[in-house]
């Protein structure tokens, strides 16, 4: 799935773009230790963890895109790091559950 399609399904907004990203799976979690332990690559992370450290974890795990739920604001340092590291950020008004349902055709990401 391309980022544009993912964003459309979420009724979301692209904050940091990555047009070349191909997203095959997704994982939903707000605990970064859990994300690090279980989320695989070529994936989207559905979360409310709008923090700089989320970008670092995505870089380690090979996560292509972060979906920030409830339209939580993206801190400037998080945005800058995402641009630098090549991680896409999409915000959506949906909850984590509703966002997961909207992206239900993706595989469940596993590490």
């Amino acid at each position: 799935m391309l980022l544009s399609e993912l964003t459309q399904k979420l009724g979301g907004t692209i904050v940091v773009d990555k047009p070349e990203a191909i997203i095959r799976s997704a994982y939903t979690s707000d605990l970064l230790s859990d994300v690090m332990g279980h989320c695989g690559d070529e994936s989207a992370l559905i979360t409310i963890q709008n923090h700089l450290n989320t970008i670092a974890v995505c870089t380690l795990a090979g996560i292509e895109a972060i979906v920030i739920c409830h339209n939580r604001p993206i801190p400037e340092d998080m945005k800058v790091a995402a641009e630098r590291e090549g991680v896409a950020i999409v915000t959506t008004p949906l909850s984590q559950f509703a966002a997961s349902v909207a992206l239900g055709e993706l595989e469940a990401s596993v590490r």
Binding site: L31, L32, S33, M36, G37, Q49, N50, H51, L52, N53, A56, T59, L60, R72, D77, E85
Partner: protein, 250 residues
């Protein structure tokens, strides 16, 4: 006396490399502090260095860690001695992920001497949470006579209120996990005190850059030591500095 109980050194991956123990002590002295605490993420390995600097400068200093617990809550553990802070460090290290730090992703983690020579680069992943829960860390800290403070509870991420929604308390009514609650630099205390209940409150700089060291602080009458702070916290006799609206970054 004025004190700042939450300061990071260059060992913290997200802190500036200018945060040498000597520079921190100088900055805290210049800001009028009587006492500080060094609280790097998940580690007290720069505590031996700042102990030397603080002693030379005649500045009170406590030694501790900012423990990121299994709940992904940031908490500050403080001790009178470097040795106990390092004991907690070993116990936290044993519960960190096996993955090594990637300096390009998270930042450098130099362990330094008092005169700012690099001893080694810490390889543990200090940016990660450890598999020790708040109750477990509280028990470890209190069993060794330390103080346990919930860090920056006003922040939405990595705080006890942000991650757990409330300040957790044990079933036994006469004990508590936290000895005090920390507010960060930018918030109005009056907005947050009602959410904190009858805990003692401190305001700390949580400085990651030299320009932020002790720009906010806590004031109280008493002695700068664990015993002195325990007494102050029991009396809830702290006064907080004004908030600041502008700071560099975390």
């Amino acid at each position: 006396m004025k004190f700042d109980l939450h300061i990071h050194s260059c060992l913290s991956p997200c802190a500036s490399l200018e945060m040498s123990p000597a520079a921190i002590v100088d900055a805290a002295k210049a800001a009028g502090m009587d006492g500080i605490a060094l609280t790097d993420h998940q580690s007290a390995r720069n505590a031996p260095a700042i102990a030397v600097c603080a002693r030379q400068a005649g500045l009170g200093c406590l030694f501790g860690l900012e423990v990121q617990t299994a709940e992904e809550v940031h908490t500050v553990a403080l001790f009178d001695t470097v040795e106990v802070a390092l004991e907690l460090t070993d116990w936290v290290y044993a519960a960190l992920p096996r993955r090594k730090n990637d300096p390009d992703t998270f930042g450098d983690q130099p362990v330094v001497t008092w005169d700012d020579e690099i001893v080694e680069m810490e390889e543990k992943l200090l940016a990660a949470g450890c598999a020790r829960s708040i109750p477990e860390v509280a028990e470890f800290v209190h069993a060794r006579g330390g103080l346990y403070i919930a860090a920056h509870v006003d922040r939405p991420n990595f705080s006890v209120l942000g991650s757990l929604g409330a300040i957790p308390e044990p079933f036994e009514a006469d004990t508590r996990y936290f000895d005090a609650i920390e507010l960060s630099r930018t918030v109005h205390a009056s907005e947050w005190l009602p959410k904190i209940g009858d805990y003692a409150v401190v305001r700390s700089s949580d400085a990651h850059h030299l320009c932020d060291v002790s720009r906010v602080w806590t004031e109280a009458d008493g002695t700068f030591s664990i015993a002195g702070l325990k007494d102050i916290f029991a009396r809830k006799a702290t006064r907080l500095s004004e908030r600041i609206t502008c700071f560099s970054a975390n």
